[in-house]
């Protein structure tokens, strides 16, 4: 398409590209003239919700972002924490929800690709991934196809690049029937002195383009031009991006190799909004300007317009700022890995982006007003009208058969075994995986040191939907608890905040409340937020997803020698319950999965109690006393005990002085532990010292799980529990 065919720039076009009236006026005023077609496209992309965070920024400021380990907080491609012995970890999480709903395989695969690039852009070698998935009801239309595609996509991409997926979570809820969530997390490590920032500096330095050629992929629906484009050119533009993990792998190696020289100043991947966002963001951070010559951008097909080149989201591409005079050295390294490098422009001083195609200047835009100083909104908020009705205390029916109830819960895809998923992911490559998927938190070895890293991702969308603030706190608290179960101290978190349309006041309210709850928990539990991502507009036909603020947290384990596991390992070990139950059933798995009720206030989050519990667990793990530690979450004590027996095939004989239904209560700040009998006295003392309520339940052993309660006994064969649990997902999927 030549410039002559470009549609006329006016307010209507701006609106079809996703800008509102005020924003269109603002860019006209900024420029003192009408923007060109390409300029308007660039502006619309940079001011899109996805790139500008315009509706979320005001709230995100609430998060604590400082901490003793933090070297790089939010604002870069990934955050960075110090993990000791001269090493740092860079990590981030990102959503790929919409692409995955359209084309699950490629959508999920390119999600993994994008997050890996965010990490190695910082000079860190990716060593682990997590994936947090939310699907609709398994029987919803297309759902099995979506599940299959997403899992294959994540697997094929990560497996090929050679980064283990060591954990994650998978939820099912009809609230995601028309909008599934795919949140991908990656973590990389680097020597402290090798950290890289994506800051374009040094006017005169060349801008280099490396990796795959640019095609028409994924030029976004939101920024897509008006009807006048014609059906033909529209059909030429695939909205689905195809990933090439092999190219990603060589790009990764080449970038890390180049970053070991000092021939490059900055590196950034071309993610959402492609060349536009990578170029503008790098210059914005450096307070510099840039000049681009689009004729030099390597193209996959002929005839791309400047607009298309600037906004293409072709995958596996990087933009580098090299030191002037060192270009050849850079090119040689990329060539060794079979990749092309082209010089497509240079850094300038004047804070302007000047973009040329042919002999024409197609854009001349000021950088900071489009980036750092993009519009920011405080959207109207309003609590949903039906909130108090939904929060009304639910009726809690008594279970008639405890073993049957437990097996019923274990047999749901929600609480059943997820190994059908994570067996399709290579989780042992790189030989760092000490605990892979299936435990409370994944544990990675840091080779050459005694210490380890622990990773977990958590959120309970049902809690968040019943009480966003408390749900937000709970996600953070549960992550801390999962880490504490392997003796890890949290050093930072990243998040993916998945919500509906922020222009709807009730959604903005949910968002504000969730962030507020998360921030409070982060403060109280001393976990800084070092990176993250907001995904709005997760709705279909006006129906929004449940608020889903996914939290991925990273912890440090000082010494792996005394690592507890999540299941029972020794006959004769004594089982103890830490924490106290208040019989809370609002939003519980028991009511939702067995009685179809999603009502009530979710369990209270007592941050002080969480802190004391986590301190105690870490201390006991470090002292080497714990053989088993497993936190209580969905399904309460019954599910936690069942999980602890299933994995090791060892039963337990226990008694607890409660009403039987309370086995399924989801009161927070609790965990079960198992210790050698001679350590019982010690653990009692320590619990008292740490002010954590403790109850001795009984002993590990046999092939049955027996729990005597007031007036009833849960008595189940471990083998039967295992069968219900392990067949739950494959049975539901029926592949």
């Amino acid at each position: 398409m030549s410039a002559a065919q470009e549609p006329a720039v006016n307010q209507r076009l701006a609106v079809t590209m996703g800008l509102n009236k005020e924003e269109y006026v603002r860019i006209r005023e900024l420029l003192g003239r009408k923007p060109t077609y390409t300029e308007l496209g660039i502006t619309a992309a940079l001011w899109s919700e996805h790139c500008s965070y315009k509706s979320s920024k005001v709230y995100l400021q609430e998060f604590p972002t400082q901490g003793e380990h933090v070297l790089q907080g939010p604002g870069e491609n990934a955050g960075i924490v110090d993990i000791g012995n001269g090493w740092v970890a860079a990590f981030k999480m990102e959503s790929h929800n919409h692409p995955s709903f359209i084309e699950p395989y490629q959508g999920a695969a390119t999600g993994v690709g994008g997050i890996l690039r965010d990490v190695f852009t910082m000079g860190a070698r990716p060593i682990a991934c997590l994936d947090s998935l939310r699907f609709g009801a398994i029987d919803a239309p297309r759902m099995k196809h979506l599940i299959d595609g997403v899992v294959r996509g994540i697997g094929d991409y990560g497996n090929c690049v050679g980064i283990p997926t060591v954990g994650g979570e998978t939820g099912f809820h009809s609230g995601y029937d028309n909008n599934i969530l795919v949140n991908a997390f990656a973590l990389g490590v680097a020597r402290r002195e090798r950290i890289f920032n994506a800051v374009a500096s040094g006017p005169g330095n060349p801008l280099l383009y490396a990796g795959s050629r640019t095609g028409r992929d994924g030029i976004h629906g939101a920024t897509m031009a008006s009807e006048s484009f014609g059906a033909e050119s529209e059909s030429k533009r695939p909205t689905v991006q195809v990933g090439d993990p092999f190219t990603e792998k060589v790009l990764l190696e080449a970038c890390l190799a180049v970053m070991r020289t000092d021939a490059v100043v900055a590196v950034q991947d071309m993610g959402a909004a492609g060349l536009t966002s990578s170029a503008f963001e790098m210059a914005d951070r450096g307070g510099t300007g840039l000049r681009l010559d689009l004729d030099r951008v390597p193209l996959r097909e002929k005839g791309l317009s400047p607009y298309e080149i600037m906004l293409s989201e072709s995958q596996e591409r990087m933009l580098l700022v090299a030191r002037r005079g060192r270009e050849e050295e850079v090119a040689r390294i990329f060539e060794r890995w079979g990749l092309e490098v082209s010089e497509i422009g240079e850094v300038t001083e004047d804070g302007m982006a000047r973009i040329k195609a042919g002999r024409k200047e197609v854009a001349n835009l000021p950088i900071a007003p489009l980036g750092k100083n993009a519009p920011m909104y405080r959207r109207p908020v309003e609590a949903p009208k039906d909130l108090s009705k939904r929060q009304a205390p639910p009726e809690v029916p008594q279970p008639d058969d405890l073993a049957g109830t437990l097996e019923g819960l274990l047999g749901t895809p929600e609480l059943g075994d997820k190994s059908w998923i994570w067996r399709q992911y290579d989780h042992t490559v790189r030989t760092n995986t000490v605990i892979g998927p299936g435990g409370d938190a994944a544990v990675l070895l840091l080779k050459g040191t005694p210490s380890g890293l622990a990773l977990t991702s958590d959120v309970n969308p049902v809690y968040c939907s019943l009480d966003p603030s408390s749900g937000g706190s709970q996600a953070v608290a549960e992550a801390v608890r999962n880490l504490a179960c392997v003796g890890a101290e949290p050093i930072g978190l990243t998040d993916c905040l998945n919500f509906g349309n922020p222009e709807d006041p009730t959604i903005s309210w949910q968002f504000r409340e969730c962030v507020h709850g998360m921030a409070a928990a982060c403060e109280a539990l001393d976990v800084p937020v070092i990176s993250g991502n907001v995904s709005f507009y997760n709705e279909t036909e006006g129906k929004s997803i449940p608020p889903t603020p996914t939290v991925a947290m990273v912890g440090l384990i000082p010494d792996l020698a005394s690592l507890p596991v999540a299941h029972f390992t020794n006959s004769g070990d004594r089982v103890l319950l830490l924490g106290e139950d208040y019989g809370e059933f609002g939003g519980s798995a028991y009511l939702r999965l067995l009685h179809g009720v999603e009502q009530g206030r979710p369990p209270k989050v007592d941050l002080r109690a969480e802190e004391r519990l986590a301190d105690l667990l870490r201390f006991l793990a470090f002292e080497g006393i714990l053989r088993t530690a497993h936190d209580l979450s969905e399904g309460g004590l019954a599910i936690a005990l069942a999980e602890a027996t299933i994995d090791g095939g060892l039963g337990a004989d226990l008694a607890v002085d409660i009403d039987p239904v309370r086995l399924f209560s989801e009161t927070q700040a609790r965990a079960i532990v198992a210790v050698a009998p001679h350590d019982v006295e010690r653990i009692m003392e320590e619990a008292t010292e740490f002010e954590v309520p403790i109850t001795e339940l009984g002993s590990v052993g046999g092939d049955r799980l027996k729990v005597r309660c007031d007036g009833a006994t849960l008595d189940a064969q471990v083998e039967d529990l295992y069968r219900s649990w392990s067949t739950a997902l494959p049975r539901a999927l029926d592949f």
Binding site: I102, E103, Y105, Q106, S212, G215, R216, D217, K236, R237, P238, V240, Q241, V242, G243, D244, F246, T247, R300, E301, S314, Q315, G338
Partner: protein, 86 residues
């Protein structure tokens, strides 16, 4: 009467074809420098127990529903001569 058909599925021309790209490169390294482009697709040979009236339509339905991902792939259907061919 039995009938046999061949279905061919290719990535759409504007869609990145990483496999085709890799094969082009590998053929070049093998000395087949004259190869300028390779597209990699799938081929299915399908046997149906009876011809029916709308066999082509039925085959197209199979493509739409299972064999091709029409968002990123094109397919073509070809009837092989009536079950005779082995």
């Amino acid at each position: 009467m039995a009938v046999k058909a061949r279905i061919t599925v290719y990535p759409r021309p504007e869609i990145l074809d990483p496999q085709g790209k890799a094969i082009t490169g590998a053929l070049g390294r093998l000395g087949f420098g004259q190869v300028t482009d390779v597209r990699a697709g799938k081929s299915f040979e399908i046997e149906l127990s009876k011809k029916g009236r709308n066999v082509e339509k039925v085959l197209a339905q199979m493509c739409e529903q299972l064999l091709a991902n029409t968002l990123i792939e094109d397919y073509s259907v070809e009837l092989l001569d009536g079950g005779a061919k082995k």
